[in-house]
């Protein structure tokens, strides 16, 4: 394994690990506040219990998210000093703002977790709302920095270094809105479906358990709207990628030949050697329409791009198919659940929906991981699109396979521990059957 590949693997692994906890850090606060708010409205102690249990889960996941996020902020320099030397001044602004948002989140989460009996009821709820808001904001700021890597703005390059730096223009790069929207919705949908699925599993086993029925219904309130909006947000993102990163779009679609009325490839396997995408379902004009809103638009293929600037086509294409497929799956479940809710049906009598929800537990997380693979691998060989190559940014430090393997082992261990602790906690959920037996 070359040092460059080891560095990329360590970064990918660290991001993939952290993103789960970051998503939960954005989504869970909304759920616990929702439960507590419903409690203040109804006075049902079961809802307070739910808020407390969700808060406990959040505490475990937030701590792991905090430390794995710290690791990432150092790894930017430890693995990519060339990138930080070039870009630190340009994207320092969103990272600084992220620092403050995270600081605020940590403060109010401490108050929320440990303050049940120390602050007033209203102050406690306000603290929860501030956790949710600052959690979402800190995610948005980090995504802004990543969006800049895809659509760099706000500087000129002279002698290989940036001049005339304008951090505000850098933050307001064209990719920031679409990416921030897409990631925030992903966090709500992914976390919401994971929580909904866990409680759906308990509802299947204990149909009379009010605790899990309430929990399921609250989680769906967050998950369903997010999953229904996500395809629209994905469309905005795809149109942006078509304009700003044609190589990434071509790789996502396995689109080798520049043509008008370009077909949409669903599934299939892109073969870089023969420059064809085999075994895919082709929809004529579909890609032209999705990318530019016009069935006859010309879509640039990989043939227009020098082969040394191609991203790994197969990985990007397959990851994109996984993301879209799971997104459609979640949107379909959402429609189903929304329709039943509109019909005022009780989910308990619809075991197939509950089973689908259980199947969807990891779906949002896997879709998000796949989406980040599309974003990051699809930008290769660039670390800053069109400006700086990944291989020119890596540290000169040799032997990078050692920290890669070590951090992988560490994170596998932490992941197993977190799962074990969460499962232990869920087994201790209350078995309430009669109304009001708090």
């Amino acid at each position: 394994m070359s040092d460059l590949l080891a560095a990329r693997s360590q970064m990918a692994m660290s991001l993939a690990f952290h993103i789960i906890f970051a998503m939960v850090g954005i989504g869970m606060p909304v759920l616990m506040v929702l439960a507590e708010w419903r409690y203040t409205r109804t006075g049902d102690p079961l809802l307070l219990d739910l808020a407390k249990r969700w808060a406990k889960g959040t505490a475990i996941l937030f701590a792991v998210g905090a430390v794995s996020g710290t690791v990432l902020s150092f790894e930017l320099g430890l693995l990519w000093p060339g990138f930080m030397h070039f870009a630190g001044a340009i994207i320092g602004m969103p990272f600084s703002l992220e620092g403050f948002a995270f600081f605020t989140e940590a403060i109010f989460l401490s108050i929320y977790l440990y303050g049940w009996e120390r602050v007033s009821r209203r102050a406690h709820l306000v603290a929860g709302v501030l956790v949710a808001v600052s959690g979402a904001l800190s995610g948005v700021f980090v995504v802004i920095a990543n969006a800049w890597m895809n659509a760099p703005r706000g500087f000129r390059v002279v002698d290989g270094l940036p001049v005339d730096i304008d951090p505000i223009a850098a933050m307001l790069n064209p990719a920031f809105g679409p990416q921030a929207l897409h990631m925030t919705l992903a966090a709500y949908a992914g976390t919401g479906f994971a929580v909904a699925g866990i409680h759906a599993w308990f509802v299947l086993k204990q149909p009379k358990n009010r605790f899990h029925r309430h929990a399921l219904s609250l989680a769906l309130r967050m998950a369903v709207p997010a999953a229904l909006l996500q395809p629209l947000s994905g469309d905005i993102s795809a149109k942006l990628v078509a304009r700003t990163q044609p190589a990434k779009l071509a790789a996502m679609e396995g689109h080798f030949t520049t043509q008008s009325r370009a077909p949409l490839h669903i599934g299939g396997w892109p073969d870089e050697a023969t420059r064809t995408t085999r075994f895919a379902i082709s929809i004529p004009g579909g890609l032209s329409f999705l990318a530019f809103g016009d069935f006859d638009a010309e879509v640039q293929g990989l043939d227009r791009i020098p082969e040394e600037d191609w991203p790994p086509v197969a990985i990007v294409h397959v990851a994109f198919q996984v993301m879209v497929g799971l997104g459609v799956f979640l949107a379909a479940i959402s429609l189903w659940a929304a329709w039943l809710r509109w019909r005022r049906a009780d989910f308990v009598h619809h075991p197939w929906l509950l089973r689908a929800l259980v199947a969807a537990i990891p779906a949002g997380f896997i879709a998000t991981e796949a989406g980040w693979i599309v974003t990051e691998v699809g930008r290769q060989p660039w670390i800053i699109q069109g400006v700086l190559r990944t291989r020119d940014a890596v540290t000169p430090m040799p032997g990078l396979i050692v920290p890669f393997l070590f951090f992988t082992a560490l994170y596998v261990f932490l992941g197993v521990m977190v799962l074990y602790l969460l499962m232990r906690q869920m087994r201790h959920a209350p078995k309430l059957t009669s109304p009001g037996s708090g």
């Binding site: 219990d49 407390k52 505490a59 475990i60 701590a63 792991v64 905090a66 430390v67 710290t70 690791v71 902020s73 150092f74 790894e75 320099g77 430890l78 000093p81 060339g82 930080m84 030397h85 870009a87 630190g88 001044a89 340009i90 994207i91 320092g92 602004m93 990272f95 600084s96 620092g99 403050f100 605020t104 940590a106 403060i107 109010f108 401490s110 108050i111 977790l113 440990y114 303050g115 049940w116 009996e117 120390r118 007033s120 730096i165 304008d166 951090p167 505000i168 540290t395 430090m397 040799p398 032997g399 920290p403 070590f406 951090f407 560490l410 932490l414 602790l421 232990r424 906690q425 708090g438």
Partner: protein, 361 residues
């Protein structure tokens, strides 16, 4: 690059020193708590550990963010220096990160995992060992920079792996600074814990003894580092000899530790706490003033390494706005928790009951 007259890099440098000071006073004391968790002994071992967990409990994640602030300011405002430090100190920084991860997650897991003694002990061990390693490695990184070895290593070409990536930090002076940082954290934590023990005189005496011990290690390590600096960090040695602000701060550092010890001897724990914090703060500022204007001694200054003024201005605006949000939030947090320590059990109760009435202020 800026005109040499720009004041902004200096202001950012001051903010970074404030953040480092905050990290040492709050996060450092949490590390120190981990040291005493590891060294808990005697008949009151369990009570010592419970007090430590209570005092760290609610706010460790908040205390930890000071470190992130320092890192973010460093890479936003002095990106070339961040790049150099990350390359040359890759190994100690990576080890420190492993410590950060293990310490934070072990502490949380211990809080939420089963309350059997053996499970608790296992997580406690991970927590306390990483609490020892992390501040020591932090001190090693700072020491390597201060000694000038990092700047020198960044100019090396074609030397062996060990000469470039290990030698700059693996020397007696730098390692002594690691011990010094660890001892400072332990001293601070012990003094804080005498105060937080509240009415429990036995626990107060336990931590009072530990504070004396830690102060002794601080003393030995500080003068050890001074003695070693002639050989390993001549630039540091030179600044020690000149009579300036940093010299006065070094004197104050020594004076405050003496005051803190006197207060401990008189069992005035509240006063001792203030002097201990002043001692550690003067340590940080004495180091900051003797380092200035160099960010990477002996050849890179803050001004030379700074990002353009346009960037620094915006960062300062963001810092000001952030402080407006953070200051009242932090005040609220510490008012809520530091007034009534030892209610960590809030988390463990499996209650489904009502809110309890908020405690009167």
């Amino acid at each position: 690059m800026n005109a040499d007259t720009s004041i902004l890099p200096t202001i950012i440098a001051l903010v970074m020193a404030v953040a480092i000071n905050g990290y040492l006073l709050l996060g450092g004391a949490d590390f120190g708590g981990g040291v005493w968790d590891l060294l808990a002994s005697g008949p009151r071992r369990a009570r010592q550990r419970a007090l430590i967990a209570d005092s760290i409990g609610p706010v460790w994640e908040v205390n930890h963010v000071w470190l992130i602030l320092v890192v973010v300011l460093l890479f936003s405002c002095f990106p070339s220096v961040f790049a150099i430090i990350s390359v040359e100190l890759h190994i100690p920084l990576t080890l420190m990160l492993i410590g950060v991860v293990l310490r934070g997650s072990a502490f949380t897991f211990r809080t939420y995992d089963a309350h059997h003694d053996d499970v608790q002990r296992r997580w406690g061990l991970v927590f306390s060992i990483s609490s020892v390693l992390t501040p020591a490695l932090l001190g090693i990184c700072v020491g390597a920079i201060a000694s000038g070895a990092v700047a020198r290593a960044s100019h090396l070409e074609g030397v062996s792996f060990a000469a470039r990536f290990i030698a700059p930090w693996a020397n007696p002076f730098v390692l002594t600074l690691g011990v010094l940082t660890l001892a400072l954290c332990a001293f601070l934590a012990a003094v804080y814990l005498t105060y937080e023990a509240g009415e429990d005189v036995q626990l107060q005496d336990d931590f009072r003894r530990r504070a004396f011990g830690a102060a002794g290690v601080v003393f030995v390590a500080a003068f050890g580092a001074l003695a070693l600096s002639g050989t390993y960090a001549p630039n540091v040695r030179r600044t020690m000899g000149t009579f300036d602000v940093s010299f006065l701060l070094h004197l104050a550092t020594g004076a405050f530790v003496v005051f803190a010890i006197l207060a401990l001897m008189r069992r005035s724990y509240r006063v001792a706490r203030v002097f201990a914090a002043a001692h550690v703060s003067c340590f940080v500022w004495g180091w900051a003033f003797s380092t200035y204007p160099w960010i990477l001694p002996p050849d890179v200054t803050f001004v030379a390494a700074a990002a353009p003024d346009a960037v620094l201005e915006l960062i300062l605006v963001a810092l000001a706005l952030g402080a407006l949000v953070l200051a009242p939030s932090l005040v609220w947090l510490f008012r809520v928790f530091k007034r009534q320590p030892a209610a960590f059990d809030d988390l463990h109760e499996e209650t489904t009951g009502e809110f309890h009435a908020p405690n009167p202020p």
